[in-house]
């Protein structure tokens, strides 16, 4: 790529591009000495309208950053919980246009909370990469997390993300140098060479998958997560968030000691699934849940978000910061 261009190579006096989310992460780190809490929910589950309520509930209970999932028919990096919600969203008729509408509503509601859209690549490809970037920016999105797009295949996205401004949020680039955040993933299996490549191509933060596997709540966070974060930083990334398998406040606290952000997905999504666990017969389509039941689920979502928010706020705080917390699981 642009080998001869000053400032793009690793090393020397370059500053890593913080983008919209990276500025938030830096502020929380420098001013509050804590990691960010990122919450994932798919658009459209159980319906587009109710997914907005759920997203606002997360905002109200202390989430710092939102990962907005695009429901997709073939989510190969997702476990049963997120699969069920994505399928429910599609069954409820959710379209790609809903993503931009939900996004706009959300960023209007909480301009201080950056929203990164998490999507498999084909919907973007079909929509048109530059057109997607433009509409994402217009709706106030901070950028994209791309679970099945590695930088090697991302030339179109690298160009499109440079051509449109991300925001709102503390690092909004709307009135400065343009650039949507582009969050690529690293895994425990990534070689040092690939970590360098990925860190060099990312903006905002790098998403470290704590375990080898798909999304889903786990009893323990992978023991390779901390090393992976350190390796990714050493490879040139300033900001690294950890996702996959973080589901409790204790885990958020543990991961928050060393990561710039903690991303929780399946555990939050699960509160919205109610009793209808994947693989089991569901009593009627999920979007036909009555108002009382829905309110109860939102209540559980809010409670879990608040616990997780408390978790990241106590990850490093006080003298006990280095003591491993809550190893009770």
């Amino acid at each position: 790529m642009s080998q001869g261009t000053a400032g793009t190579a690793t090393g020397t006096a370059t500053t890593w591009p913080r983008g919209v989310t990276g500025e938030l992460l830096a502020r929380l780190r420098d001013e509050e000495d804590r990691p960010a809490l990122g919450g994932y929910l798919p658009v459209g589950f159980p319906t587009p309208a109710r997914s907005v309520e759920a997203l606002k509930t997360m905002v109200d209970h202390g989430v710092d950053m939102i990962e907005l999932g695009v429901p997709y028919t073939d989510p190969v990096l997702d476990g049963p919980v997120v699969q069920a919600a994505a399928q429910g969203a599609l069954d409820a008729g959710t379209r790609l246009s809903d993503v931009f509408e939900v996004l706009a509503e959300l960023t209007a509601y909480a301009p201080q909370v950056p929203v990164v859209v998490m999507t498999y690549w084909n919907p973007v490809l079909r929509y048109g990469v530059d057109r997607f970037a433009r509409d994402l920016a217009a709706a106030g999105g901070a950028g994209l997390i791309t679970p099945d797009l590695v930088p090697d295949e991302g030339a179109d996205w690298l160009a499109a993300s440079d051509a449109h401004a991300g925001g709102p949020g503390p690092g909004s680039t709307a009135d400065g140098a343009p650039g949507l955040d582009r969050v690529f993933l690293v895994a425990p299996s990534s070689t040092p060479e690939r970590l360098r490549l990925t860190a060099g191509a990312s903006r905002g933060f790098v998403y470290a998958t704590s375990v080898m596997g798909v999304t889903g709540a786990r009893a323990t966070v992978g023991d390779r997560a901390e090393q992976l974060v350190a390796d990714t930083r050493a490879a040139g990334a300033e900001m690294v968030c950890v996702g996959l398998g973080v589901s409790t406040a204790a885990q958020a606290r543990e991961v928050g000691r060393y990561a710039d952000g903690v991303i929780v997905g399946s555990a939050l999504v699960r509160t919205l699934l109610g009793e209808s666990m994947p693989g089991h017969a569901v009593p009627g389509p999920p979007h036909e849940v009555d108002d009382d039941e829905w309110a109860a689920r939102l209540g559980r979502l809010g409670a879990l978000t608040a616990e997780l928010a408390e978790g990241v706020r106590t990850a490093r705080a006080g003298s006990g910061a280095d003591t491993p917390v809550g190893d009770a699981s």
Partner: protein
């Protein structure tokens, strides 16, 4: 070109010539390597899998140059699979594709006679030997018709590997006998109950398993789809089909065929056969996709008639998808062709115009299925019956156009008989109403798990 006796050019000229020659060699369509076939292919997978794909590519390229590997594979082909597979001329069947002209000679490449009953074993043995070289002890596979699952379970038994096969729940019903076969061979069969419950969803589950267990596990992908190096590697393991057929036909008829035909699910049997003829301009290549109930009904698996380029399962290729890029469900009477995408090399050959892809409906395929049974005493897989139906259509069309072979003789058509039809007897019995009322029908229903 430099001929013997030409004056030896000086060094810079020689260098330039070498470069040109190297370029010409790479220009041979049959030698094009991944990750890209034109605008198609690539690696659209989670980062977690990249290291394993790199390892696989390295090991695969090393193995191809290692006689210990190639000799062992050749021995297995010969002694275990029973290769070379015969080339059978089928004149009574061929009588149905001529017009008034000289007609056509039809030759079947008999992959149905391989051990396990289809071409799938060629690829599986190659990959299984690689697994051993990589020091892994567990293999996973997806399967649609069950043929690839059976082949993988077979190779796993042969080499003492643990084996898990993912199969859409819908397919476990359509191909119940193959489920039992895999279990007999010691494999665990996992019915996949999400999405459309067919091949596509089985691949999703296999990929999820692979991401979680990649340290110990190899994913034996069953066709020329998926992330690099699978499309190239699986083509390599199947090129023996075309290499043999080409030699057999030259020996039999003294010339190359006019038409080469194969069914296209993911595209492995077709690419394996096509590969040997890609650079012979006079040979017309035809791939036949599942037209299901007809393109106009939307219930089909004809990616080149009803699809557009997109990404699924790690590769960019033609894909059945809606305006939002969501994968559309495919439909076919044959589980092995019931897949919404296709190997990237086929998309490349399609866009190049080097191969022609046409849909064949369920009805047409079943008619050809029965015709081969009755005229030649060969029961084909329903997948392969799509190729037979397509060959009949092309043969008739060319005859009507007055096309003949050289010197006015008959056309020469090679059809890949990719598999045998034992697994499809229940489907055919129901399709044609072949069972007597009462006991037999009940027994069939019971076996199929529908009773």
């Amino acid at each position: 070109m430099i001929r013997e006796g030409d004056p030896v050019p000086d060094q810079p000229v020689r260098d330039a010539l070498t470069e040109t020659l190297a370029h010409q060699v790479a220009e041979r369509l049959a030698d094009v390597q991944g990750p890209y076939f034109g605008a198609f292919g690539g690696r659209f997978v989670p980062e977690a899998l990249i290291a394993a794909l790199d390892e696989l590519e390295t090991e695969y390229r090393k193995a191809l140059g290692d006689p210990a590997f190639t000799d062992e594979l050749a021995r297995l082909h010969r002694e275990y699979t029973g290769r070379p597979s015969p080339l059978t001329e089928v004149p009574r069947f061929a009588a149905h594709c001529g017009g008034d002209g000289a007609g056509a000679r039809v030759f079947l490449k008999r992959e149905d006679l391989n051990h396990t009953g289809s071409h799938k074993i060629n690829n599986v043995l190659g990959q299984a030997l690689l697994v051993r070289r990589m020091g892994k002890h567990r293999v996973i596979a997806e399967t649609g018709a069950g043929q690839h699952g059976v082949a993988t379970a077979t190779a796993a038994a042969l080499l003492g590997l643990e084996c898990v096969v993912y199969m859409g729940e819908e397919d476990t019903r359509r191909q119940a006998l193959n489920v039992a076969r895999m279990r007999l061979l010691g494999a665990e069969v996992v019915p996949v109950k999400i999405g459309s419950r067919t091949l596509k969803d089985a691949i999703n589950e296999a990929l999820r398993d692979w991401v979680a267990n990649v340290d110990t596990t190899h994913y034996v992908l069953g066709t020329v789809t998926g992330p690099h190096p699978f499309p190239e590697m699986v083509r390599e393991f199947h090129r023996i089909i075309g290499d043999e057929a080409r030699e057999q036909l030259l020996e039999r008829t003294g010339r190359l065929p006019d038409v080469v035909a194969a069914c296209v699910g993911g595209g492995s049997n077709a690419l394996g056969l096509f590969n040997a003829f890609l650079d012979d301009d006079g040979v017309a290549l035809y791939g036949f996709e599942a037209g299901g109930e007809g393109i106009e009904t939307g219930r089909h698996a004809a990616r080149f008639s009803g699809g557009a380029p997109g990404v699924l399962h790690g590769a960019r290729s033609y894909l059945l998808q809606d305006d939002d890029g969501q994968t559309l469900p495919s439909h076919s009477v044959s589980a092995g062709l019931d897949y919404p995408s296709v190997g990237p090399a086929h998309s490349w050959l399609h866009d190049l115009g080097r191969a022609t892809y046409e849909p064949v409906t369920d009805d047409e395929a079943m008619e050809a299925f029965r015709l081969l049974c009755e005229t030649e005493g060969i029961i084909p897989a329903i997948e392969s019956a799509h190729a037979l139906a397509g060959a009949l259509r092309v043969g008739r069309r060319l005859s009507e156009e007055g096309r003949t072979g050289p010197d006015g003789g008959p056309l020469s058509i090679v059809v890949n008989l990719s598999g045998r039809g034992d697994k499809d007897v229940a489907t055919a019995a129901r399709w044609f109403g072949l069972l007597d009322e009462g006991v037999a029908a009940q027994e069939l229903e019971r076996q199929e798990g529908r009773g």
